[in-house]
């Protein structure tokens, strides 16, 4: 077993542990901390694949900004333990088969097409930050500008939603 494979399995186990912990924890703040574990593990996997810029953005934007927003809202609303309700039978009878079916379909698709995927390139060489930024500002410049509009609209929407009406 080579070193990258060991690192992969450690990080994958950490990510799955975090995701399961998100489901099992009943307090939202613990769920948020579990999600941060998942995101840091995924950033490590991106580094392992040689996508260092995506890893940095993952840590800064996901692990930093978005999760701080979540924690702020949880503390602002003083969210307590999750209530147990007795009319969630649909979740039990439809949820598990649904999740199993979707995971099964994805796994079947991977198993069928997996043999034809080319081997990964040596890491780091082809997707440097420079390549990524060149691509972002030439070929993908219109989607890039559209995302700035999206952020503007999102800011306006959040302000309109969050203000207290008179």
């Amino acid at each position: 077993m080579t070193a990258p494979l060991i690192i992969f399995f450690v990080l994958a186990a950490l990510a799955i542990f975090g995701a399961v912990s998100l489901i099992l924890q009943r307090h939202p703040i613990y769920s948020a901390l579990s999600l941060i574990v998942v995101m840091v593990a995924l950033a490590g996997l991106y580094l392992l694949m040689g996508a260092e810029f995506v890893a940095a953005v993952q840590i800064i934007v996901y692990g930093g900004a978005i999760m701080v927003l979540f924690v702020f809202v949880i503390m602002l609303l003083n969210a307590g333990l999750e209530e147990r309700t007795n009319f969630s039978g649909l979740a039990t009878y439809a949820g598990i088969p649904l999740a199993l079916a979707v995971s099964g379909f994805i796994a079947a698709a991977i198993a069928r097409s997996g043999g034809y995927l080319p081997a990964p390139a040596p890491s780091g060489a082809l997707t440097s930050t420079k390549t990524l930024s060149m691509l972002l500002f030439t070929e993908f410049v219109y989607p890039f500008e559209l995302t700035s509009f999206l952020i503007l609209v999102a800011i306006l929407g959040a302000i309109v939603l969050a203000q207290r009406e008179n």
Partner: protein
Amino acid sequence: MVPTNYYLILSAILFGLGIVAFVFKRNIITLFMAIELMLNAVNLAFVAFSQSLGKPDGEVFVLFVIVVAAAEAAVGLGIVILTARNRHSLNVERVDLLKL
């Protein structure tokens, strides 16, 4: 090197766990976290394919997905605050005005 299939299988597992969390959790903030988990799983598949095919396009898409997730979190948490203020509860089953 780690085979690309391993990353894809991990991505599928995380997506399935996200669905389970979305269906089973009752807290509206935790539901948002489940959506973020599913977006993260898709991002992992994007980066794995991008590295496997030798094209950086997938990583650019991941950046777009992260931007959309940030915008969605900002607007969605605004809606959560508004809902909690009106309903005095974070339970999604109390938000049933459109239910028959």
